[in-house]
């Protein structure tokens, strides 16, 4: 019996065991990426607060060439463990691959700060510096773009709020010019927990979106990170499928923006 068979049997006997980690890792190393992803994803869903599980998901996604999804998974890792070396290295690699050298440098610099003895991280940092002709620049990185402003030609159509109902970005204005952003933010406090509780109790997995259709407007609610909620709305003559695509994009941009802020 090989390692994979033995680990698979163990996991089948006790689906709550942590054996999914070595099983997925072994599958990944043998190039069975789809099977590895299934195992790792199930494990991460079962243990959503385990940074190591999400790191494994991210590495498999990266191997599969799914950069955006790997980015999401590593961002989750950093939320759970801000000093996770593998996540900083992984994000540095992804950023470099996507041509975002400034961001790549920042992740790799953080990786080297966390583990000065890590030769691979130091080498990667040097290579990126050489490639872009950059020098280390100390200082606090400032986000330059409010993701919702960047995406919304129609101001007042989206808000990003934190778990406690405080506005992070965006805004909603009435035709009189009144800003409803704070009121909407307060109304959204707890939505994420409520949706999470509902989907968990009903065995629906982690919640990904709430769509609300009305006579006049359609609303999309997302959770770019577990501690934030994004609300986007459009008049209902805009097809709901198109609103979903817009919200997908806003969610992705919000996640990147939040990651930069942090």
């Amino acid at each position: 019996m090989d390692d994979i068979q033995a680990l698979t049997i163990q996991l089948a006997r006790d689906p709550s065991s942590l054996v999914f980690l070595p099983l997925a890792e072994t599958l990944r190393r043998r190039g069975q990426l789809d099977a590895a992803l299934t195992v790792a994803q199930q494990g991460a869903t079962r243990y959503p607060e385990m940074a190591g599980a999400w790191d494994l998901v991210a590495r498999i996604r990266s191997d599969l060439g799914e950069g955006d999804l790997a980015f999401d998974a590593w961002t989750t890792v950093i939320r759970l463990d801000g000093e996770h070396l593998g996540a900083h290295k992984g994000l540095g690699f992804l950023a470099y691959r996507s041509g975002d050298h400034r961001r790549s440098l920042r992740y790799l610099q953080r990786a080297v700060d966390l583990a000065p003895e890590d030769g691979a991280a130091r080498t990667a940092l040097e290579r990126v510096r050489e490639a872009v002709g950059a020098h280390a620049v100390p200082g606090f990185p400032e986000p330059t773009i409010d993701p919702l402003t960047a995406l919304e030609p129609d101001p007042g159509a989206a808000v990003l709020v934190d778990r406690e109902g405080r506005l992070l970005a965006g805004g909603v204005r009435t035709s009189n010019g009144d800003d409803l952003g704070d009121a909407i933010a307060a109304a959204l406090a707890g939505v994420s927990r409520e949706a999470e509780r509902a989907t968990r109790l009903l065995g629906l997995g982690g919640w990904t979106r709430i769509g609300v259709e009305g006579d006049d407007t359609n609303v999309e609610i997302r959770t770019p990170t577990p501690d934030t909620v994004l609300l986007m709305f459009r008049v209902s003559r805009i097809p709901s499928g198109r609103l979903i695509l817009l919200a997908d994009r806003a969610e992705h941009e919000s996640r990147r923006w939040l990651e930069e802020l942090r």
């Binding site: 109304a187 009903l202 982690g206």
Partner: protein, 114 residues
Amino acid sequence: MTLSAVLDDLTREPGVRGALVVSVADGLVVADALMEDVDGGAVAALTSSLLRRMRGVAQLLGQAAPQLVHLVGGEGSLLAAPAGEELLVVAVARPEVNVGAVRLALRRAAERVR
């Protein structure tokens, strides 16, 4: 048409695991047609709470009450449509469900319950 008949029709949609009618004000089950693994009490309480919250958001936006709420999870989803002010028709669906078809069936069911 009885509530049970309306719900039975709704659960005939492929991918629908169960359906129920819920009282919005107190989150209690009025009628249900559910598979064994679906906790009707939990569905009712959570859906009515979510709908009340969405009504609050709609009100702030100066809009009418929502006609459909769709909560999507990685392994399935929940769709709810109000049937008047007091009641809500809810469907619990598998991930592979045809959302468009269930939306229509749910709205039809809500019209019948109203």
